[in-house]
């Protein structure tokens, strides 16, 4: 009996030792914005007004994105439509339908971002984030993920869960640079999470990596400066809109 167990476990281990890592495929991310939390951020007096229709609001707005990837590049773009998704005016954010092409070989990113009326073509090198690795582990879409916490734009914390079992250092939006694929991102200050809900291990077609060359050409810094200047009059409402646009 004991021998059988050992044999089985050895067999399993042998399989796992030679097991193929995932190197290409398609990931579907579910992006959720917590509407109720957006309201918690308001000050007491603004909340008085919000309280009047709070009960009519759903807790989240949900949208889907697809990430096609192989060893050399990835493309992130809006995925399936959700029926009857309430598009609340105050919960709408700029740059919420981005298309991002990341080239791991040249370490460059290219993105189509619609920021209000302006279409931007962002071209830049891949973003460098100082990631703090933690020992928290969770399973997402059957992949074992490890938690890492980073920061963008000096103050916006990003919590990422990445899996080493996918040998591509990519992720949703412009997030990348961890020792594996990012399957969940949470940005507490934007009350938003992206989580992988489905992973298909199929080779993407070359046509899955197409991106438009239209739009005002900028790099991330230029985009930031541009928005800072344009949204100058928005005072305290500018920050979140800029953060959304810089993801």
């Amino acid at each position: 009996m004991k021998r059988i167990l050992v044999t089985i476990s050895t067999l399993l281990l042998t399989i796992s030792a030679t097991a193929q890592y995932t190197v290409q495929g398609k990931i579907e991310y579910e992006k959720k914005v917590n509407l109720q939390r957006i309201m918690d951020d308001l000050d007491e007096e603004q909340k008085e007004w919000m309280e009047r229709f709070r009960s009519q609001l759903p807790k989240f707005t949900t949208t889907y994105f697809d990430l096609y990837f192989n060893a050399s590049k990835s493309l992130y773009k809006p995925g399936r439509e959700v029926e009857g998704n309430t598009k609340l005016w105050f919960a709408q954010s700029p740059a919420s339908e981005n298309i991002v092409l990341t080239d791991f070989k040249t370490e460059r990113v290219k993105a189509n971002k619609q920021v209000f009326e302006q279409k931007f073509l962002v071209e830049d090198s891949m973003r460098q984030i100082e990631w703090k690795i933690s020992d928290e582990i969770r399973t997402i879409a059957n992949y074992k993920c490890r938690k890492a916490v980073g920061k963008i734009l000096d103050s916006v914390y990003v919590v990422a869960f990445y899996t080493e079992d996918i040998m591509v250092s990519g992720g949703p939006e412009m997030f990348s640079g961890l020792p594996g694929m990012i399957l969940q991102i949470a940005i507490p200050r934007l009350n938003t999470t992206w989580i992988a809900t489905k992973i298909d291990v199929v080779a993407p077609k070359e046509s899955d990596f197409t991106i438009s060359d239209k739009g005002k050409k900028v790099n991330q810094k230029e985009l930031y400066d541009n928005l800072r200047e344009s949204l100058k009059d928005w005072k305290k409402y500018a920050d979140k809109n800029i953060w959304w646009s810089m993801l």
Partner: protein
């Protein structure tokens, strides 16, 4: 040989150079499964700085399990090797010199699952074990005031907190701290426990959270995370805020006062607020800014619409005491006392919501109005009516309302509302009028004194039930409402008319006729209506929705008017019923309405069409001579709309609404009335319904980044078979009118505005234009008349705010041209008016602020309207703020410094043009002190108060 040596020296140099440019240190080793002695390819090697776990670099092992990875600096590093199915390997190394650090063989072993079960040794009453969860009641463990959650956790048996804030519960490290079940409450769990107040916590729950996958699929995959959930108390937020304003001053007309006090105390979802206002400066109620804070929303209903907008609508039917802005918009000098109380509470996760309001209002108004009306008559004849009206009224009102909303489950809601009101208005009006022709010969004079004491009582209630079905878009709603209103009034009419009969050719006076009335009028009206409405929506496809509705309404009205004369003209008893001017009617209306609407919703295009049909059976019963009339009306209401979202900030919309409009009973069968003896109505039994088409097209485009906007709208009203008037003005200026059906009436308006920001000057600029047209057919003294009353306006606006926000200025000039023509008369009445508004404010050092605003109106005189109506209204203030957070403000303001303010209204309709001048508040100075106070004991850490705004 020598050249070779040179080459190797060169190579060496190159190597040294690159090394000097980016100094790096390498770590190497080989990863193997020690049990099976397999070299592991593609194992992930992550290098982290030992002091803060920040990732330095990572790599993957080659086919033979070997790896080499670089770091930028010397020092201690954590090396983590991971491979699927094997336990993670973590080691700490220190790079001391330039030599590559060789880790040799990195051994990895298979995972052993050690299930750690904990045993609860002690049982406290304050601790509950619910399945896998241990729950602590926070209040059972004493902590100091202002203690943090960390201090609370230290007190809980089985939980330890180390100096770094790491929490260990029942022997296992806590990896997650949730707040109200929410994971990403802040970035770092330690922040939560350190910043959240222990008092805010209701329960501390410790459990092993299953992986998201397991929660999703329901299949336990064995992955568990020790988790603490902090369930916050419902009354976590508690405090109060409010303001008190005391102001007094003096002016040319009277002394002025403006005192306000408002207060809101909240504890969790429970809210109690009160306010009181007394002022004679035009402030009559809470404005929209304060209404949500202190007035419990003012009875408005806020809803999230299908397309994601948020809409608030107020039922303004009985709110004559309060305007949206909180300032008096009417004529005359108001003195107002207003007060209110509001209570609301929600409990059981907001499933139950109870609210109530009480309002009291008292208003005294003194008005003097001078009116001049010019009537155009056939053959270039004219008629001029001059009237002075003095009114003094005192009104009082009480109103109470209540609301209960119950979210029965996640799909259905029941809402019940009720309100009751009582109001009383006593007024005395004195009219002096004379009527002259184009030769300025006096035709008639009328002096009237009308007093009235009217009381209205009302009780209204509604019941609303809504249910959403599982199928998205399928909903049902039922609405039942009851309205009851009773008005009783008692008053006196004292009137003297003198009619001057003139020869129609020479104009010489033939005779005068004097006619006096001294009567008591008692009116009683009651209305009770009950209605119900059922509405159902069904998704026919993903993009098509059908709505059907049916409504049924019953109205029961009674109207009694009694007029009494004096038997003895010198006495003061009104004891004889005057049957000519007395009547008693009962109206009953029963209406059935059925409608349906089909709606298509695509991503960019949204359109719908449908309509409703209603049948109203109308019964009018005359109670005095017992007769009754029956009418049966069928109304159609077709509608359609189309919307195209060109982009998120740009859309175009078209709306069509059609409706039938029935003649009123007054138009068919007028009740005899002697309040105004120079205007006599005649009924028209042949009058039929009119049909109105309303078409509206609008476009808007807003560019957020450049601040450029374009808004444009056009609306047209075409009326088929319009109900218009046929008037007969006799030689003494007495008007007899009757309603008739005519064709060809229309009205419309257009609006376009464009604005942009001139970046270099930080200046917002805009231009707008409006056009209003009215084309009306009527009959004057038997002759067909067509009147065109058109207005054209062009305006500009500029606003500038300084970079430091200390200085702001805005200037809005506009000019209008008013053009009025009637075909029965060759003369036209046309005039220009302009309006300019300038506003400035400037923040000075020491928290001083000065500001001024000017409204300058220039109104062209005409040959008839030759009064000077130009006004230069100039206001200014200086203020200083004191105390922490500018809680106290002292303000000295001066209103209408040049004492020029004037009530003015000139308008044209059909074949007449009217100008009103009325008294209004003029120059006064006011000294006021405002104190804003707030105290909030919020347990939750303050977060950024940013919201995302897109229109």
């Amino acid at each position: 040989m020598p050249p070779m040596r040179h080459l190797s020296t060169l190579l060496l140099l190159v190597c040294l150079c690159t090394g000097a440019m980016a100094q790096s240190y390498s770590i190497k080793g080989t990863v193997a499964d020690t049990l099976n002695d397999n070299k592991l390819p593609n194992a992930c090697i992550t290098v982290m700085r030992a002091r803060d776990s920040v990732m330095e670099s990572f790599t993957r092992t080659k086919e033979d399990g070997s790896f080499s990875v670089k770091t930028k600096a010397k020092g201690k590093y954590l090396i983590m090797a991971t491979f699927p199915g094997l336990a993670d390997y973590v080691d700490i190394i220190e790079i001391k010199d330039d030599a590559p650090f060789d880790m040799g063989l990195v051994p990895m072993v298979s995972k052993t699952h050690l299930l750690q079960e904990f045993v609860l040794t002690q049982q406290y009453a304050a601790i509950k074990v619910k399945g896998d969860t241990i729950e602590y009641l926070a209040d059972s463990f004493k902590t100091r005031d202002n203690a943090t959650v960390e201090a609370l956790l230290k007190k809980l048996p089985g939980i330890q907190v180390d100096k770094n804030g790491q929490i260990v519960a029942q022997g296992e490290k806590v990896q997650k701290v949730l707040v109200d079940g929410e994971e990403f409450f802040t970035d770092d769990p330690a922040v939560v426990t350190k910043s959240l107040q222990a008092k805010a916590v209701d329960k501390v729950q410790v459990f092993d959270k299953k992986s998201e996958q397991a929660e999703f699929t329901g299949i336990d995959d064995g992955e568990k995370t020790r988790t603490i959930n902090l369930q916050l108390k419902d009354d976590k937020k508690k405090g109060y805020f409010g303001k008190i304003i005391a102001g007094g001053g003096t002016g040319d007309q009277q002394s002025f006062f403006e005192n306000q006090a408002m207060f809101n105390a909240f504890k969790g979802k429970r809210k109690l607020s009160a306010f009181g206002i007394m002022a004679n400066t035009g402030k009559v109620g809470l404005g929209w800014e304060d209404r949500d804070k202190f007035g419990g929303g003012g009875g408005g209903v806020t809803e999230v619409t299908d397309d994601g907008g948020i809409m608030t609508y107020y039922n303004s039917d009985d709110d004559d005491f309060e305007s949206w802005s909180g300032t008096y918009n009417g004529q005359g000098l108001p003195r107002a006392w207003t007060g209110g109380l509001h209570y609301s509470n929600k409990w059981k996760q907001d499933k139950h919501h109870l609210g109530g309001n009480y309002r009291y209002g008292k208003q005294d108004i003194e008005t003097t109005t001078n009116t001049l009306t010019e009537y155009s008559l056939p053959n270039d004849k004219k008629n001029f009516n001059r009237q002075t009206k003095d009114v003094y009224s005192v009104g009082q009102r009480h109103r109470g309302d209540g609301l209960y909303e119950w979210k029965m489950d996640s799909t259905s809601t029941l809402k019940v509302t009720a309100n009751a009101g009582y109001s009383n208005t006593k007024s005395t009006s004195v009219y002096n009028a004379d009527n002259r022709n184009e030769l300025d010969s006096l035709l008639s004079t009328n002096d009237r004194r009308v007093t009235s004491d009217a009381t209205t009582k009302s009780i209204n209630s509604t019941l609303d039930w809504r249910k959403k079905f599982k199928k998205k878009g399928r909903t049902i709603s039922v609405n039942i409402s009851e309205n009851y209103r009773e008005t009783m009034s008692d008053g006196l009419l004292l009137s003297t008319n003198i009619l001057y009969e003139r020869d129609s050719n020479t104009g010489s006076l033939l005779s005068t006729k004097r006619d006096e009335t001294d009567q008591q009028k008692q009116n009683e009206n009651t209305t009770l209506s009950l209605s119900s409405r059922l509405s159902y929506t069904e998704p026919l496809s993903k993009v098509t929705f059908l709505e059907v509705n049916y409504a049924f309404k019953v109205d029961n009205n009674s109207s009694k008017r009694e007029t009494y004369n004096k038997k003895n003209p010198l006495g003061d008893v009104y004891d004889t019923l005057d049957s000519t001017f007395s009547n008693n009617y009962a109206f009953n209306i029963m209406t059935h309405t059925g409608g349906s609407n089909l709606r298509f919703m695509f991503k960019k295009i949204n359109f719908s069409f449908g309509g409703s049909v209603s049948n109203a059976a109308f019964q009018q019963k005359d109670q005095m001579p017992d007769t009754s009339y029956n009418y049966n009306f069928t109304n159609f209401f077709p509608k359609a709309n189309f919307q195209y979202s060109i982009s998120k900030q740009s859309r175009i919309r078209f709306d069509y609404n059609g409706s039938t409009r029935q003649p009123t009973i007054e138009q068919i069968q007028p009740l005899r009335n002697n309040l105004d003896p120079l205007n006599i109505a005649i009924g028209n039994a042949a009058l039929t319904q009119e049909f109105r088409h309303n078409l509206r097209l609008s476009f808007n485009d807003y560019k957020m980044l450049t601040n450029r906007y374009i808004w444009a709208s056009v609306s047209m009203n075409l009326i088929d078979n319009a109900i218009s008037r046929s008037e007969n003005i006799d030689a003494i200026g007495r008007r007899t009118y009757q309603y008739i059906n005519v064709d060809g009436n229309y009205s419309g308006w257009g609006y376009i505005s464009y604005g942009t920001k001139i970046k270099a000057l930080n200046l917002h600029t805009g231009i707008h234009a409006n056009v209003n047209v009215n084309h009306i057919n009527n009959i004057v003294n038997g002759r067909k008349n067509i009147s065109d009353n058109n207005t054209y306006t062009l305006g500009l606006d500029f606003s500038y705010d300084s970079e430091n926000e200390k200085f702001s200025i805005s200037y809005d000039p506009s000019v209008s041209y008013n053009d009025n023509k009637s075909t029965i008369n060759t003369q036209t009445t046309s005039f220009w008016t302009t309006e300019q508004e300038l506003e400035m404010s400037y923040e000075l050092p020491w928290k001083f602020e000065v500001g001024t605003d000017i409204n300058w109106y220039i109104r062209e005189k005409t040959s008839v309207f030759d009064r000077n109506n130009n006004v230069f209204k100039w206001n200014a203030y200086v203020s200083k703020k004191f105390l922490k957070n500018d809680q106290l403000e002292l303000r000295m303001s001066m209103f209408d410094i040049l004492n020029q303010n004037l009530g003015f209204y000139r308008y044209a309709q059909n074949n007449y043009v009217t100008e009103d001048n009325y008294n209004t508040i003029r120059r006064y100075g006011l000294l006021s002190l405002t104190w804003n106070f707030t105290k909030s004991a919020a347990g939750v850490p303050q977060q950024e108060s940013n919201i995302i705004i897109t229109p």
